[in-house]
Amino acid sequence: MKCAKCKELIMTDYADGELDQKLQKEVTAHLETCAGCRGLKEALLKKAVEPLKSALKVKPPEFIWQNIRERIISEEEPDAQSALSVLRERLNRIFAVPKPVMATAAVILIVFVLVVGGLSIYRQPANDYSAAESEFFSTEFGEYNGNADFSDADLGTSVEVFLM
């Protein structure tokens, strides 16, 4: 193995124990014969690897979880309140009628009201006429009801005479 390759492996896989058995043996064999590479390995482990491996593991303080828990709860509270408004919105959406449909419905309603209202206005005189007619027949003309011998002279106009 050449020094360049050995140095490359020392800096990474060899120092971290990630070499396969075959390469491990080759590096070990090279280190036995090469003082330069051996010096690099020793310096690396002593000055750059081992000091970091002995670093303390720090425990997260308990207040961190308390803060996280409080943040989760405070974020979920407005969610619960907004659940009602979401429900209301959904209902509105289900029962919502599009504006053109509303406009058309309003026009149809107005036309319907006008037509029905108009008919009842025209019907009113007709009804009055019928009432007057039946009154006439029941009173003045009525006295001739069932009387076959009423005279032509009692009928007002020639048209009436013709019709009769």
């Binding site: 490359e8 800096m11 990474t12 896989d13 120092a15 971290d16 990630e18 310096a43 690396l44 000055k47 750059a48 690897v49 000091p51 970091l52 491996k53 002995s54 670093a55 303390l56 593991k57 720090v58 425990k59 997260p60 303080p61 207040f63 961190i64 979880w65 803060n67 996280i68 828990r69 943040r71 989760i72 709860i73 979920e76």
Partner: protein
């Protein structure tokens, strides 16, 4: 660290705080340590840890299991820690002063003095070595040397090629060696 159960993840994703707390208890040590080593102090590490778990809680219902939850958490932790470090580095050049009492929770009344001095010395060395590195190199070194992740796990956590992990580690160690030999 053992793998988190699917049932636990699903429960937490449905908003079960107790299940989420269980996930927190199992993973927060890693997240806090990485954040602490990258940002350099316990105040920023606490802030990053809170942000990591809030982000995880909000996204858990959409978690797609393409990677393990731990790898996913590692990735969020590393990204947020680097972002936090960069943001703060713009305002204050250099790392926050090493403060063993508050950063490591030493008890000066009960811990033997010699032990405290030795730990402090060791920690000073760790801090100064990490300080010599760029954030990306520092993360690689922290994941490998302090957290003991394999190359494959580091590649997964950082979403980079395994050979990129090798080259970052190699460059970081060259820098560490040069820095240590100068002192």
């Amino acid at each position: 660290m053992q793998e988190l159960s699917l049932e636990l993840i699903e429960k937490a994703g449905q908003g079960d705080i107790a299940a989420f707390e269980e996930i927190y208890r199992q993973t927060s040590g890693f997240v806090y340590n990485v954040a602490f080593r990258v940002t350099g102090n316990n105040h920023d590490a606490a802030e990053v840890t809170q942000d990591v778990f809030m982000k995880a809680y909000r996204s858990l219902k959409n978690f797609e299991y393409r990677s393990s939850l731990k790898t996913w958490l590692y990735r969020i932790a590393v990204n947020l820690a680097i972002n936090h470090y960069r943001k703060n580095a713009r305002h204050a050049q250099g790392r926050v002063e090493f403060d063993p009492a508050s950063d490591y929770g030493y008890d000066y009344k009960t811990d033997p003095a010699a032990q405290i001095i030795e730990k402090e010395e060791r920690e000073r060395k760790v801090v100064s070595l990490l300080d010599a590195l760029e954030p990306e190199q520092r993360v690689c070194i922290v994941l490998r040397e302090i957290e003991g992740l394999s190359y494959e796990e580091i590649a997964g956590a950082l979403k980079i090629n395994i050979n990129t992990v090798r080259s970052r580690l190699s460059r970081a160690r060259e820098k560490l060696l040069a820095f240590a030999e100068k002192r």
